[in-house]
């Protein structure tokens, strides 16, 4: 830093130092007067009743903010869990549907072909992340035809 500036600033703030050239000494004296003017202008402190009870209000607000933060974090975790729960439910429903379908198909008697094609109905229950749900019906129809003698079906 410029030594001249440092000396002027220090002397304006009342520090003793080497004698400054006249122009710099005048600047330091002006800055000192200015400093006094500023101190006087900003003198006094807020005399508000709020200051007297500030600690209590700060603690209350800090704790309330902390609790809100904890609640928000718990909410986020819960939201995440419920989303996973819904996905798990949906997955389980699909798996159950596939298992039931496969079982029913395998248990279906290998009867002689009837005139009316066989149908299989299944229902899957889905739960969405927001807690609502819906049911979907799946209907399968066996459409294979008995083979003819020439191999066409």
């Amino acid at each position: 830093m410029n030594t001249r500036i440092e000396q002027i600033v220090r002397q304006a703030d009342g520090a003793q130092g080497p004698a400054l050239p006249t122009d710099q000494a005048a600047t330091a004296a002006t800055h000192q007067a200015l400093s006094g003017l500023l101190k006087q202008a900003y003198a006094g402190e807020p005399a508000d009743a709020r200051l007297a009870f500030m600690a209590g209000r700060v603690l209350a607000r800090a704790k309330a903010a902390g609790n809100a933060g904890i609640a928000a974090r718990l909410g986020a975790v819960w939201h995440l869990l419920t989303r996973h729960y819904a996905l798990a439910c949906a997955g389980a429903a699909v798996a159950m549907f596939l298992a039931v379908s496969a079982t029913m198909v395998s248990l279906r008697p290998a009867a002689a072909p009837t005139a009316k094609p066989s149908k299989l109905r299944s229902f899957a229950i889905y739960e969405t992340p927001d807690g609502s749900g819906f049911i979907r019906c799946f209907e399968y129809e066996h459409v294979s035809q008995p083979r003819t003698d020439n191999g066409s079906s």
Binding site: T30, H31, L37, K39, Y42, E45, D48, L51, M54, A55
Partner: protein, 194 residues
């Protein structure tokens, strides 16, 4: 508070350690110790008592959370000053900008500077005080911070450097140029004092 028998006599480091160990009364002591100085600093920036108290309260709420991670790399009060100063400057930034009027004509309307040649002894005229506030407000932010920390709070150059995050040389340089700019704006009130 078994470990902290006389919180008012405890050092800042002891209070911080006690708070970090779970003693909330240590935080109350910190608030009580610094609230007046911080309120005065905030008021010097926002120049409105209501806003200043809001700034200080917000700053303490923020420091309550941050103090648990405070490692003491700087002094507690310079750390608090930095939080308050940043909050106060943010508040001023969000306000609509008030245009500073042309200086010369306004100064002519003020009382005779000879009447207030000794500012350390005379109560300042309200208009002059307003003029000083406007002059300080017109300074660039980095200069304003340094001036207020020096003139209002009486912090040392080293402490100011900690608060604003620069070295002492920069603090003195900013202080010098800020005073030069203020001198230009307030010259009529300084002539007879020099």
């Amino acid at each position: 508070m078994d470990e902290l028998k006389q919180p008012d006599a405890s050092t800042d480091q002891e209070l911080v350690a006690a708070f970090q160990a779970g003693d909330e009364r240590a935080f109350v002591t910190i608030v009580d110790r610094y609230k007046h100085r911080l309120a005065r600093l905030a008021q010097s920036v926002v120049r409105n008592q209501e806003d200043a108290l809001d700034v200080v309260q917000d700053a303490f709420v923020k420091s309550y959370r941050a103090l648990k991670r405070f490692r003491g790399s700087s002094a507690l009060y310079t750390w608090l000053y930095r939080i308050v100063m940043n909050h106060a400057i943010d508040l001023v930034r969000r306000r609509p900008r008030v245009t500073i009027e042309a200086e010369t004509d306004q100064l002519r309307e003020l009382p005779d500077p000879q009447v207030i040649t000794r500012p350390d002894r005379e109560a300042l005229n309200a208009e002059l005080r307003d003029r000083i506030f406007k002059a300080v407000d017109s300074l660039p932010e980095k200069h304003r911070r340094v001036v207020l920390l020096r003139e209002v709070e009486g912090l040392s150059y080293k402490e100011i450097a900690e608060v604003v995050g620069c070295n002492e040389g920069t603090v003195m340089s900013r202080l010098f140029y800020a005073r030069e700019r203020l001198r230009e704006k307030l010259e009529p009130y300084l002539k007879s004092g020099t």
